[in-house]
Subunit: 310 residues, 2 copies
């Protein structure tokens, strides 16, 4: 391990993750908490950040690179969107300096798609893509989540992207709709379950039936006593199948896409992509990607800008 | 006007409507309130019903026919579903007698679809269809709402039906999703607006893009400052367009359908069906239909069963 070079933070609506890194991006220390935007806005962003840095004994001059909703209008300091198409390296050179902080703190911008018929925004996912940029990646990337992103990359630039509300719809429907009692107490979705795969296949083949098939989840529970875990798996499968059908429509063939995902989402999307007949998927860990992307940006902004590179 | 024959009630989750009718179904009196199921469960179903009957001076022996969620498991008395395919006249002969009431009170059953791959249920809409049954209607009926129904009728029988969660999705998305701030303060959807028609056309042609187009509503507001009324119209159009694409998939050609709707829904669905190229739509008023259906059932159950007919 080398000496501490910088700290990097992925700060979202509901979570805070911090790593201290050496100049090669090796992890020296790590902090995690549920102090997302809402909590931090009350406690004070700098207070939260410094408490985690203090817990790792990070000296006062060590700079911090951040990404995520912390840079939104309702975050700490707004880091204005860069417009697509955009080279990912520009994220680092356009990181916004948070004013009046004890140490240098920068926030990476999100990316906006203003031109054409498809307005769209991302904030946080672009940093995961930055980790691919070093490899001059061309092709599609899929980043599942509350708002899943499908991104077309070319030679380290984001050409265009499309967001799908898959995760948010899943949460809304399972907690606040007439489907809620039918999934209550159900287990987490098993990517190996027949219900999940069948639902992916059905929605991919006939996405226009979505709002009918959602109601059938309730009716199947009411009339046939379908269990909560099976219903939950079907709900997830229908929404992911819809996303894949939409992504194919917007992006063309999904073959060869890089799936940037962590935990349960990785397994679910791998399975769903297989059901949809998508070939040659590569999987990258989302958390490692965001850390690597933050490190790449920190290196450009803090080390190379200071002429500290050999 | 003839003498008072019976009272009829459409009692739903959030509303109560009562009419007193003569033996030919002419309206003698009317009561409306927001005492839906939740309110009535607290105040007592019979108390609420009798208070409205008392307001119209309805004598103690006059019978009452009801429909709607009042007959669900969480209502006053469960009126078990009849299974489709079913002749609509059987609704009246299978009305459930509410036990221990001062006057005869019956609740019409809903209809369940248990056979085959598409479990589904309706409760309330079947009574609107009963009004069509007298005409031995064959063909499709569309009943827009929180849970829109598309029903295939043949010679006065319900053959099969499909429910679409259109209205519920609209409410969830406009109040509880990231789209909410983009429609806040917006006007009710104008069926004549270009945004509504365009969105219907887009969703009908490419329903697989739904969860992408939903997110674009937020992005279009964020980036392009699209107004709340226009965004609201697009949201409505996308969901109705999705429903029409799904209905066509499940039911085949939608030409010649009877649209049973009231108020704003009638105009929105008329326009949407025109955008989707559906021909020969007939519109019937939903409220008149439910009243006529309840009257037809009351006549069969109370008048003809008692041998009171000439």
């Amino acid at each position: 391990m080398g000496a501490l070079a910088h700290a990097v933070v992925d700060w979202g609506t509901s979570s805070f993750r911090l790593w201290t890194l050496d100049r090669d991006g090796r992890v020296l220390g790590e902090q995690r908490s549920g102090q997302g935007l809402l909590t931090a806005a009350k406690e004070g962003f700098e207070t939260v950040l410094e408490s985690h840095l203090a817990a790792l004994d990070v000296p006062a001059e060590v700079p911090v690179m951040m990404c995520g909703m912390v840079g939104s209008r309702t975050g700490w300091t707004e880091a204005a969107y860069l417009d697509a198409p955009v080279r990912l390296e520009r994220l680092a050179t356009h990181a916004t300096r948070v004013p009046d902080t004890r140490r240098p703190v920068r926030i990476l911008p999100g990316i906006a798609q203003r031109e054409g018929a498809h307005p769209d925004v991302m904030r946080g996912e672009e940093t995961q893509l930055l980790a691919l940029a070093g490899e001059r990646h061309s092709g599609l990337a899929c980043l599942p989540g509350t708002h899943s992103k499908w991104v077309e990359l070319k030679g380290g630039a984001v050409l265009r992207f499309a967001t799908f509300m898959t995760g948010e719809l899943f949460q809304l429907l399972r907690t606040a709709s007439v489907i809620a009692p039918a999934v209550e107490g159900g287990a987490a979705v098993d990517p190996g379950s027949a219900e999940f795969s069948e639902a992916v296949g059905e929605a991919f083949a006939a996405p226009e039936l979505l709002s009918n098939q959602l109601f059938e989840l309730r009716a199947g529970w009411l009339l046939a006593g379908r269990g909560a875990s099976a219903t939950n798996a079907r709900l997830s499968g229908l929404l992911i199948g819809l996303e894949l059908a939409g992504a194919r429509r917007r992006m063309g063939s999904l073959d060869g896409a890089v799936l940037v995902a962590a935990g349960p989402a990785a397994a679910l999307y791998r399975r769903a992509l297989a059901v949809a007949g998508v070939a040659d998927i590569t999987v990258r860990d989302a958390e490692a990607s965001v850390r690597e992307g933050l490190h790449a940006a920190a290196k450009l902004a803090f080390l190379e800008a200071q002429g500290a590179c050999p």
